[in-house]
């Protein structure tokens, strides 16, 4: 007769075994690629890519769900296996000062080192590349496809590209040689050494500044603000064109005083010509019960940014609100936008039609 204790023990073994079988069968489906930015530490591997600094024993995977210690070596499952590949308008990233009206070949691999409760792409970002349906796309194929699709740039986007930095670096290097611009859509939550190396192959970046408050960063995103601010200043120093996106989440990051502080910091540290996009939140993922950001809140935030003398302030996701680019000197509309459609823009030189003021960006 089977005793209760024995039965429970057997069930436990069964659960463990079934989990291992599932994990092994998933692991078989992929190829690992050697990862950079790590060192050995007391027999384990210490990942040095992002501020989490995961210490991984053999067989363990980092918080990003992509980097793993296999026999004392750090490897990544996020290489050449995107689960999302689309041709998007560059305005969708959003990047308003980069080749307006052009298309960007956009690639996304699963994985992220943050845990944003409002993530719009959570099925990708909160999964490992082992769990998603992927295609095989080596760097050379990605570049060839981008050229074939008549795209002017190649964008690393959708989830968090810094956790598949090896693929971004290899692809971006080839893309630049082929005359394509390279675009990074990131939260900027990365250590500065790898980020500087990444910036060497990146032309422009959309960096999320999710809020200007450490507690919000911790509770909403499971991250910290300091590394993000460092990434912003370093990107600027490295000559990467940056545009900042601030998603205003009701009850979380809609404090106008905080927004004012953020605008002041941007002006002082990055310059008044840095474009700032205020984006509207729509209920998603774990914050599915929250109401969308009212348009008035976005409008108010834009007004504060203007008061703080930021020259290029945009309202994202809200039709009929500031999305045109105007000359900060004479007020002439330089780029007229209607959603993702661009009607009229400064091509080539990037200077104002009337006062000839040079507008910063990639034109």
């Amino acid at each position: 007769m089977l005793s209760r204790r024995t039965l429970i023990k057997y069930l436990g073994i069964l659960a463990g075994a079934s989990h291992s079988v599932l994990a092994t069968s998933q692991a078989d489906k992929k190829t690992w690629h050697s990862a950079k930015y790590w060192r050995e530490e007391d027999g384990a591997v210490r990942c040095q890519l992002c501020p989490h600094g995961c210490t991984l024993d053999t067989g363990k995977t980092g918080l990003c769900r992509t980097r793993k210690n296999v026999d004392g070596q750090l490897v990544t499952s996020g290489y050449a296996n995107p689960c999302a590949v689309h041709t998007d308008p560059i305005e969708k990233k959003p990047l308003y000062h980069v080749l307006p009206g052009s298309s960007s070949y956009s690639i996304g691999i699963a994985g992220c080192n943050l845990r944003c409760k409002n993530c719009q792409n959570y099925s990708m970002s909160q999964s490992s590349p082992l769990e998603t349906d992927n295609i095989y796309l080596p760097p050379e194929d990605a570049v060839a496809n981008a050229i074939e699709s008549k795209c002017s740039s190649i964008a690393f986007t959708y989830a968090e590209p810094v956790v598949w930095i090896e693929y971004v670096q290899d692809t971006a290097e080839l893309a630049r040689k082929a005359g394509l611009k390279t675009v990074l859509v990131t939260s900027g939550y990365i250590n500065q050494q790898p980020f500087k190396e990444l910036c060497a192959v990146i032309d422009c970046a959309h960096i999320d500044l999710k809020s200007f408050d450490e507690m919000v960063y911790r509770n909403l995103n499971a991250g910290s603000i300091t590394p993000v601010l460092k990434s912003l200043t370093n990107a600027r120093e490295m000559g990467v064109w940056i545009e900042i996106v601030n998603l205003i989440v009701p009850s979380w990051s809609d404090n106008m005083e905080m927004i004012r502080k953020m605008c002041k910091w941007i002006k002082d540290e990055l310059g008044e010509e840095t474009p700032l996009h205020f984006s509207r939140f729509f209920p998603m993922y774990k914050l599915a019960h929250l109401y969308p950001t009212p348009a008035e809140v976005i409008q108010k935030a834009c007004r504060i940014a203007k008061e703080e003398k930021l020259q290029f302030v945009y309202a994202g996701n809200v039709p009929d609100l500031q999305s045109n680019t105007t000359c900060p000197s004479c007020g002439t509309i330089l780029i007229e936008r209607q959603g993702y459609k661009v009607k009229n823009y400064i091509a080539g030189t990037g200077s104002c039609f009337s006062c000839k003021k040079q507008i910063k960006g990639i034109w």
Partner: protein, 649 residues
């Protein structure tokens, strides 16, 4: 003598009879159960998975209380204490349910772990005491009579709640009435009575305030409707249904796409909108278009939206377009609008060239496996009903179906900034092609086999990274523990398997009802009333003809009836549930075993039936799977008798 003394609760000199105590505690417990279910239903956003878990938790702890596993004896003083505790814990549980959303971050959903913990913390103490009180009543009275009076109390409790639901009376009135009816049991104990009265007043004044704690923003009113709890913001612009946003006046890309894609195929002369969901403002942009908006929930209907169901729309009325104001189905009440039955009903209301459309609000950059499965099942179910089906991916996925050929539009007839300026430029032809590519043959989502529900449950667990196998093992272990504890003799096995069939039958009936009518939130008490009526009636029957064979035959036949005739009137559903109650009670009261053992075995079986039926068997295998399960389980007592290896009763 001690047992008799234990039951000696007096009311101005008169000794309360155990049957009367059983009646009052039964009333209180039944009403408490429904109030809890409704409160939990609203904080867990109408998720039926948590509904099944809550029911199981209630029954499991009642069974444990009934067995008196932890408390063997009860003294005069402690019986009063148990009665008082019962009352206090119930009120604390209600407040706790409302406090939990306060400790969550603004707008955050409950994870399944936390949902389980909340259910356990709030429900288990009260249900345990309910079971224990039943056991105490049987100390001094024939078990059959206690069983009968307890069920009569249940019936009264369910009736009380039903009246509150029918007249949309707030929960506080129901709770105060329940406490008031409990007070006579404590009347001779001043401090206990005083405490109970204080609780009564506190809950009366605290209820309207605490009900608002469930919402993360300021709510002006809370109403209790047929399909759930309805909250409205101060300016009336935002309406919440079961704590999720039902509609706001803030338009977005998803709504514009859901409205303008179908209406831009052919300029519509008439449109039927099923559920406003914020779509109505967009449809109003089409001048000279006749719009009919219907809501199933009376409290959501207003001057612009009529409260009715599509079945009640006159035969001769046809529309150029029908739009379902919905999003990706996450529970049964939403899932029922994506069955072949409902699609065919919609088709019957369309003109020859009419378009039927709805949208799922998902991110189309990458669709995960569960969402893909939901999309494929829906597409395949539509193809089963319409000749032409197309999908438009943008801000979510819009499904379009018609019996007449059509092409996807490239602009809208009316101004729509999101749709024209954001969505259309962002959608490539490759993307449209990928979504419309014929994939592997999927399954049709039917009322009797809601395959979509499985994917929805998986999607919910996946969001919180919980592997389905762990849930399965947890359920399995829980069942084995219950069976080991409560099914030990021939009679308890017989009654336990009957309880299993009864629990399974009841939950399947409720799920099917929800798939059919979508108003389980209000109908749950009617189901319980019918079951209790059955239990009382059955407890008067003196005949050993009500055996395992009758239970098996009735369960199989009546489930087959609902399988083949899903559109039966509401009354039939309650009546069938009542008949099941009669059969079960008749079998219990005619068994030789001790009543508390039988009651515990029956309830434990009910837990097993609800857990397996609601969570696994119906979603995965459909009604056919349920029938097989019933057959296998009910054959068990015969097998035990044949083997002769079970203790005699």
């Amino acid at each position: 003598v001690r047992e008799q003394k234990a039951m000696a609760i007096t009311f101005y000199g008169r000794i309360w009879q155990p049957a009367e105590i059983a009646f009052i505690t039964g009333l209180f417990s039944a009403a408490a159960q429904v109030v809890y279910l409704r409160e939990l239903f609203s904080i867990f956003t109408g998720n039926e998975f948590t509904f099944s878990v809550s029911m199981c938790c209630w029954l499991a702890f009642t069974a444990i209380g009934c067995r008196g596993v932890f408390v063997k004896k009860c003294t005069y003083a402690s019986l009063h204490l148990i009665l008082l505790l019962h009352l206090l814990l119930f009120c604390t549980g209600i407040i706790l349910i409302r406090v939990f959303p306060l400790v969550m971050k603004p707008g955050e959903q409950f994870s399944p772990h936390l949902a389980g913990l909340i259910i356990f913390l709030t429900i288990s103490p009260v249900s345990f005491l309910s079971g224990l009180l039943f056991r105490l009543c049987t100390y001094n009275l024939d078990g059959t009579r206690v069983y009968r009076w307890d069920n009569a109390g249940n019936l009264a409790g369910f009736s009380l709640i039903t009246i509150c639901i029918l007249f949309t009376i707030p929960h506080r009135i129901a709770i105060v009435s329940m406490i008031f009816l409990y007070l006579p049991l404590l009347v001779n104990h001043r401090w206990k009575l005083g405490l109970a009265v204080m609780v009564l007043f506190s809950i009366y004044f605290l209820d309207p305030v605490s009900a608002r704690w469930k919402y993360h923003c300021t709510i002006s009113s809370i109403e209790y409707g047929r399909s759930g709890e309805i909250g409205k913001s101060i300016d009336g612009s935002t309406v919440w249904l079961n704590n999720t946003i039902y509609k706001t006046n803030i338009t977005n890309g998803h709504i514009e796409q859901a409205v303008h894609v179908p209406l831009s195929i052919r300029y519509p002369g008439s449109v039927l909108l099923v559920h406003d969901n914020g779509y109505l403002n967009e449809i109003r942009k089409y001048k000279n278009t006749k719009v009919h908006c219907i809501e199933f929930e009376p409290l959501l209907a207003d001057s612009e939206c009529l409260c009715t169901t599509p079945e009640r729309i006159p035969e001769n009325v046809r529309y150029d377009a029908i739009i379902l104001g919905s999003t990706i189905p996450q529970n049964l009440s939403e899932g029922r609008m994506f069955t072949d039955h409902f699609f065919k009903l919609m088709k019957s209301k369309l003109n020859e060239k009419g378009i039927f459309s709805f949208s799922f609000n998902v991110n189309t950059a990458y669709i995960d496996k569960n969402t893909k499965q939901i999309i494929e099942i829906t597409k395949y179910t539509l193809k089963n009903c319409f000749n032409y089906v197309k999908l438009f991916p943008g801000e979510g996925v819009t499904f379009l179906s018609s019996d007449h050929p059509f092409s996807l539009p490239d602009t809208s007839y009316v101004p729509a900034s999101y749709y024209n300026d954001y969505i259309l430029p962002g959608v490539s032809s490759e993307m449209v092609e990928a979504f419309n590519r014929d994939s592997i043959k999927s399954m049709v989502n039917k009322v009797g086999h809601p395959v979509l529900l499985t994917s929805s449950i998986n999607r919910y667990f996946q969001m919180f990274k919980i592997p389905a196998i762990y849930i399965f093992l947890f359920v399995l272990i829980a069942l084995l523990v219950l069976i080991r504890l409560f099914w030990q003799t021939k009679d308890t096995i017989s009654i336990g398997t009957t309880g299993f069939c009864c629990g399974l039958y009841s939950i399947i009936l409720m799920i099917l009802y929800q798939s059919q009518f979508g108003t389980l939130y209000s109908a749950v008490s009617m189901f319980m009333i019918s079951m209790s009526t059955g239990f009382i009636t059955g407890s008067f029957i003196k005949s050993d003809k009500f055996n395992d064979t009758i239970v098996l035959v009735y369960t199989l036949l009546s489930l087959l009836l609902f399988r083949f005739f899903p559109g039966l009137p509401e009354f039939t559903w309650y009546f069938s549930n009542m008949v099941m109650g009669v059969i079960v009670a008749a079998q219990i009261v005619n068994s030789k075993e001790n009543m508390t053992q039988l009651n515990a075995a029956d309830i434990a079986g009910g837990v097993a039936g609800i857990l397996l039926g609601g969570v696994y068997i119906l979603p995965f295998f459909g009604i056919e799977g349920v029938l097989v399960m019933v057959f296998v389980v009910k054959v068990l007592p015969f097998f035990c008798v044949w083997r002769g290896g079970i203790k005699p009763s």
